[in-house]
Symmetry: C2
Subunit: 401 residues, 2 copies
Amino acid sequence: MLIIHKYGGTSVGSLDRIENVAMRIAKARREGNDIVVVVSAMSGETNKLIEYASHFSKTPAKREMDILLSSGERVTAALLAIALQEMGIDTVAMTGRQAGIRTDENHTYARIESINTAPMKAQLKEGRVIIIAGFQGISKSGNVTTLGRGGSDLSAVAIAGALKADACEIYSDVDGVYTTDPRIEPKARKMDFVSYDEMLELASLGAKVLQSRSVELAKKLGVKIVAKSSFMEAEGTVIAKEDEKMEEVLVSGIALDKNQARVTLREVADRPGIAAEIFSGLAEEQINVDMIIQNASADGTTNLGFTIPESELERAKKLIAGFDHDFVGADYDENVCKVSVVGVGMKSHSGVAAKAFSVMAANNINIEMISTSEIKVSMIIDQKYGELAVRTLHDAYELDQ
Amino acid sequence: MLIIHKYGGTSVGSLDRIENVAMRIAKARREGNDIVVVVSAMSGETNKLIEYASHFSKTPAKREMDILLSSGERVTAALLAIALQEMGIDTVAMTGRQAGIRTDENHTYARIESINTAPMKAQLKEGRVIIIAGFQGISKSGNVTTLGRGGSDLSAVAIAGALKADACEIYSDVDGVYTTDPRIEPKARKMDFVSYDEMLELASLGAKVLQSRSVELAKKLGVKIVAKSSFMEAEGTVIAKEDEKMEEVLVSGIALDKNQARVTLREVADRPGIAAEIFSGLAEEQINVDMIIQNASADGTTNLGFTIPESELERAKKLIAGFDHDFVGADYDENVCKVSVVGVGMKSHSGVAAKAFSVMAANNINIEMISTSEIKVSMIIDQKYGELAVRTLHDAYELDQ
């Protein structure tokens, strides 16, 4: 079997932890597997380098940032290879360039365009374990590029796809994907399996195991991901195609996103193009709008409501102030949160949303906005009821069983 | 004018110092010069990475060490470029690979084979300052290589040669080359000029401004070096061809090397091949033998004396123990030092060595070994007289004037 391992910053956050990771890899190798490992920078390193750069400039050139930031993963890759060699495991370290990872020229947020697998295949044929510096690649013009936050996951998934690996094991300090945040609901259960689509919803809702970009790529390439902990021996959660799931589950998990703010524009003139103007303006400022609700117009005006990340509220306020000839006023509420019920089973079952609304009502929690997709029901509620909502929904869908 | 700047680890040892270096470069650029800058890792960084590696292995693979160690210079190059851009100077950072530096495959001590100057020339044509990560290159097979200690100086000199730069300014925390160590002789004088050959002797004798390898390369390529301080405005010392020197100076400087140990093999059998056997053995263990003295044989045996770096004495003792059937015993003396008088003027003037010996005699300092070259007289003496010898020689040759 060819297995890709990916170890995040916390898993390689100290020399002792790198040693621990080396022992895991050595064990997997001795069990007879071919292993390609993708590593992040030691935790704190990337932030340290970003801080260094910000000492000199608030808007450092992205090309130079990529030369700067790509160094952390190279250090981890070299150290881990040295540790494995000392354990008698034939190992080679590779930079993103050496691993054949070709990207576009979009510095600090590059997209992987292709992977030349020949160098990796040659090393695997020699029986070597390969340790690859994640998060980075090289562009056509020879520039060093990085893939953005969570980029090492992307590297790992892309490599797994290119090498047609049997699995891509993503190691972190969390031992899998839970039905909800265990700090909120102690009865939260680790799932054995979650589909790409469910994981996408959970990831975008704050489950920190994997970023959406990596899950999307895994779905596209058909890469089977296993989310595992590097600190314990446990099965982890498989993230794969829906039809690999053994039994149909109605609801997989409950997610809570507190980083939400609600904006309401009052009495917006009901003429074509206004919504486009407002949301284009927000998009240009790279403010991510999540839910949008507009009621039918009654008297030639309407209220337009939407949510954005709370961290982008101040920038949004400034921008909206410039539009104020189109509506009579704007209300802002940062004391809201988003609770979501996620599950592929919803596709074929009605009543999931209805049950969620009933649970809210039974607990006297007012639902301010609702948004649904094929496999998700999201509700905006008062922030103080967030944890209560998660626990009662977790209970109502019997997720602890 | 096209000027190469090179800044050592101390000169870029903190964010404030990088800012200071950026200001120097910006000034030189605004004076109308084309500038290519080569930087070392921030001081302490390379040693930190070596320590990290030694946590895992006493003999880490050199290929992986090169991936590890090359990261420090990349960080400095990126940060310095960002600082310059913020000052409004159009600047680009380049890794060793991007700067076209091709080396052999001799990891951790690679030799520069060629430099593809096209990428640098293209950037200079665009009017950009170039900041290059020193100490590193790329081999034909695409491996990252490093050039060994002092490698950034080598990068700078090689680039100066390839680009036919007008000068290669080497910045450090020392403001030039002195007639002797000012900590020993306060009257030591900074030289305006020193020839390649003199600098080679001084460098090999412990003058820390430049390593021999870089001076040799500068001599070969005809690169004019200027050794300067990055912490003050001062002229520095020009290191160039002898004939660029305005006036002939008899003696340029006095050097003291305390890292010396003397080995004497007593009553070595006087048959062919013994010296070869002993010194081949030492060479295989990479123990650098400096002076060698063998007297004519009297009674079929002879005493063989030589000096090695004191730090290699323990290894030498072990090795020599294995040879002990060829001589009756070995004496070791680590309480010796080497005092050298250096100057191109010696070539055409006799009496320089004689004066040195007289000075020693006048101070009752016993000379244990003597070695001379065209431009140097070296004497091994008791370590406790080292500083005294330096001061009296400095005085005798009137080097303070």
